[in-house]
Structures are given as C-alpha cells and as structure tokens.
C-alpha cells in the first residue's frame, strides 16, 4: 500500500524531527525526496542515511527570494515536484501583551507566508501533470489556541484556511491540499518544555503519552498517496485524543 515510486517530494524543515520522519516515510514508499532546511549538515546526514533518491536543497524560509527559488531548485534536482510537504516552522512564544511585532511577523512569515509561496511555486507543474499532493503541517493549537502562542496559533490556523481555499481551486486538476495537525510530539520543539509542563500536558492526553514523529509521518504518507485522491481540504488531527475535532 502507498506506493510513491516515481513521485518527487519536497519536504521543508527536513532537518527537524517531524520533517526528517516525513522524508524517511515518503522515501521508504519509493519517492525521491528533496530535503530542505536551513542547516545543511543534518540534511546531508539524512540524505546519506537514505542512500539514493535523496537531494539536499537548503533554504532559509525567512528569506522571500530563497523561498521563491526553492521549488525551482527542487524541480531541477528531481525533475518535478509532485508532493510538497510544508513542515518547516518556528516558534517565538510570548505572552500576548509582551509579544513584539517582530515576534509576530517572523512566525507568520516562516510558518504561513513561506507555505503560501511554496504552494504557489509548485502549482504550475502539478497543474500540467494533473496530479499533485500538498500537505501542510498545522498544529493542534491552530484549532484550540494556546497561551503564549498567539502568533504560532494564528499562523497554524491560517494554514487551514489557506489550504481549504487552494483545495477548492485545484481539486478538478487532480491536486489535493490537506493539513496534518499534530498534538504534542516528541521533538526538539517540545523538548524545550520542562517536566512540570510535560506532566500537565500528559494529563490532557487520553492516550497518556506524547506522539512520535513517525506517527505524524504516517498521516502525511497517507495524504500524499494515490489512495487519498478523494481527500482534500481536510485536516487530519494526530493528537492521541487530546482534542477530538
């Protein structure tokens, strides 16, 4: 099941926990992958671990010109971009009353605006091919909100509305656009939480544990597969029951 042989996938934030797991899952299903991120060393290491069918295309998503160039670089490396996974994200947490314009703008720029630009950049090829898969990695906090994350929650909620609008526009061309919304996943991002914060979060998760990056990757793999061709505009929540929505 879920054979991606011959498909080319661009994964942003591939140097992170979830992005790396997504790239591995797509690659294991037969896809060629372009690994994007700001840090080249972990990307190179991942590409080496994967062996063939893996390319490294670094880009700083806070830089608009670099974002514009990324789909072209990925298409040059692989021949096309059939699958785009917008996974890269940053946090600049702060209480609302203390949040600076800069903290707000940075998070919106990297988490939302760069995803818009990358979607726009890959559409031409997908429209011509009459096939495409876009998976945007959202977050549970885009739906539930989270104190200290007004900027992050706004960006992640924004991804959902953006994805649905784009899904409408391109559904007739064989292109699907969906979101995967992780709950609390064991990554470097959640590793910053202290034990007390983690303990408090765990009491709110019916599954009684944090999720793994592989469990997010599996959801992305499904949405990227030919089998999910009739699923579009959806948000797949993967959160251990933390929010049943």
């Amino acid at each position: 099941m879920f054979d991606l042989t011959g498909r080319n996938a661009l994964v942003t934030g591939a140097s992170g926990g979830i992005g790396g797991a997504v790239a591995e899952a797509l690659h294991a299903a037969g896809a060629t992958v372009a690994l994007s991120g700001t840090r080249e060393t972990p990307l190179r290491e991942l590409a080496e671990r994967l062996g063939g069918r893996a390319h490294v295309v670094t880009a700083n998503l806070a830089d608009a010109a670099a974002v514009e160039a990324l789909p072209k670089a990925a298409a040059e490396a692989m021949g096309s971009v059939d699958i785009l996974v917008n996974n890269a994200g940053i946090t600049r947490d702060n209480l609302f009353m203390r949040m600076s314009d800069e903290e707000w703008a940075q998070v919106l720029e990297v988490n939302l605006t760069s995803s818009f630009r990358l979607c726009r950049g890959v559409l031409r090829g997908m429209m011509k091919a009459r096939w495409g898969r876009i998976v945007n990695i959202g977050s549970i906090v885009g739906t539930t909100g989270n104190p200290g994350q007004g900027n992050y929650a706004a960006a992640k909620a924004g991804l959902v509305g953006m994805s649905k609008s784009l899904a409408y526009e391109v559904a007739s061309r064989g292109i699907t656009v969906n979101c995967v919304a992780p709950g609390f996943i064991e990554t470097a991002m959640t590793g910053k939480l202290n034990d007390e914060q983690k303990g408090r979060i765990l009491t709110q998760i019916p599954a009684g544990r944090m999720g793994s990056a592989q469990e997010i990757a599996a959801a992305v793999l499904y949405l990227a597969s030919p089998e999910a061709g009739y699923v579009t505009g959806a948000t797949l929540h993967v959160n251990g029951g933390m929010a049943m929505i």
Partner: protein
C-alpha cells in the same frame, strides 16, 4: 490564417475540448468557450510555453478572447 493563430487555436481546442469552428476571433474563453478562471490561467501558461514568452498577470487579464490572445502573442514574439 497566420501560423500563430493556428497554434493558438490548437491549444485552445485541445485544452477546452471545443470544436474548432467555435474558436472565432471574438470568441470569449469564458463566455463562449466554457472556460473557468483556472482554465484561463492554464491557457496563458500553455501560450507562454508554446511561444517561449512571458505574459505578465496584468496583460493576461486583458486576454479575454481568442483574438486578444493572437494579437498579444503576435506583439510579443
């Protein structure tokens, strides 16, 4: 009919699946040939590739009919 017009017509016929006779000088892609807004974007993309030209968005908006397309492309190549 000029070579350019023939090539434009071929793209329109193939892309919109319409009869060649319907693609007249004044035929509007949307009103007469059944295109939706996304079809018009795809047509412009196809013209760009066929003729190796760039059609900026503001110019693309003025291309409403088959005649508009031929005229624009004749001026651009």
């Amino acid at each position: 009919m000029s070579d350019i017009a023939d090539r434009v017509k071929k793209i329109v016929v193939e892309h919109l699946g319409v009869d060649e006779e319907k693609v007249t000088e004044t035929a509007s892609f949307i009103d007469d040939l059944g295109a939706d807004s996304l079809d018009t974007v795809e047509l412009v993309m196809a013209f760009e590739e066929e003729f190796g030209i760039e059609i900026p968005d503001d110019a693309a908006e003025t291309i409403q009919t088959f005649g508009d397309a031929v005229k624009f492309i004749q001026g651009a190549v």
